[in-house]
């Protein structure tokens, strides 16, 4: 076993131990943390935004900035792809 293999084994076991410990510390399945935020959103979403779909009201109303960031990412990707392949069309 070379030194590089030893290093790989040690590194791999450390990472595995990290994952196993964090898996043991997880919540039991089906019982998440109780937070006030989700109760508030579930109770008030129909009255405040008027939408039946709570997910849409979170995405476009309560967390609108996040959607703006997603839209900006898509815009940047399109601009990059069109710029990159523009010369392909001319030549």
């Amino acid at each position: 076993m070379s030194r590089r293999d030893m290093f790989a084994v040690v590194f791999f076991s450390i990472v595995c131990m990290f994952f196993i410990f964090s898996a043991l510390l997880m919540h039991p399945f089906g019982s998440p943390d109780e937070t006030d935020m989700d109760d508030m959103i579930i109770k008030n979403t129909q009255r405040e935004t008027g939408a039946n779909n709570g997910v849409t009201s979170v995405v476009f109303d309560y967390r609108g900035f996040d959607t703006l960031g997603e839209a900006t990412i898509l815009f940047t990707a399109v601009a990059g792809v069109v710029l990159l392949f523009r010369r392909m069309k001319e030549t």
Binding site: Q46, G50, A51, N53, L68, F75, V78, F85
Partner: protein, 163 residues
């Protein structure tokens, strides 16, 4: 990608409007049923990708063109940000839902709890769904279209060099 056989083209032309209607339904009912602008936009863009696969990138590029799609993408982004800024003017904060509760477009408030669902609810959410839907359709399709066209172009160039 070059043109596929006549069978594939006919089936694609038959299936295309149904996928289109389903995607537009998901966008339009984003505030009532699961889905929304992003998901419905992805469905409509995949319908356009079906056309691209069946009819070839040359035909699609000649029919649609990537410049027009870029314009649509920018229009969607512009309407999205404009609606958010209108919330700043009419309400108090950025992304304020200023139409909800008013007696204007999409202004009704539904009964709290489970109900049958009314299209005329949701405030700015349906409008934002439409804006994001246009944006996602144009954005995803222009990426696929330009890449397919470029790969077709490269293949043709390589063939010319060898032959």
């Amino acid at each position: 990608m070059s043109e596929m056989s006549k069978i594939v083209r006919t089936i694609a032309a038959i299936v295309f409007p149904f996928i289109m209607i389903y995607g537009l339904y998901v966008i339009a009912h984003g505030h009532l049923t699961p889905g929304g602008g992003f998901q419905g936009g992805a469905i409509v863009a995949s319908a356009c990708a079906l056309l691209l696969v069946a009819y070839g990138s040359m035909w699609t590029m000649r029919r649609i063109g990537e410049k027009r799609l870029s314009v649509f993408e920018s229009i969607g982004a512009f309407f999205f940000i404009a609606l958010a800024l209108l919330g700043l003017f009419f309400g108090a904060v950025f992304f304020n839902n200023f139409l909800a509760g008013s007696s204007f477009l999409f202004g009704d408030i539904p009964m709290v709890g489970s109900n049958t669902g009314d299209m005329n609810t949701g405030g700015v959410l349906p409008l934002m769904n439409f804006a994001v839907g246009i944006k996602v359709v144009a954005g995803l399709f222009v990426i696929i279209l330009v890449m397919a066209y470029a790969s077709n172009h490269m293949e043709k160039k390589r063939g010319e060099k060898q032959g």
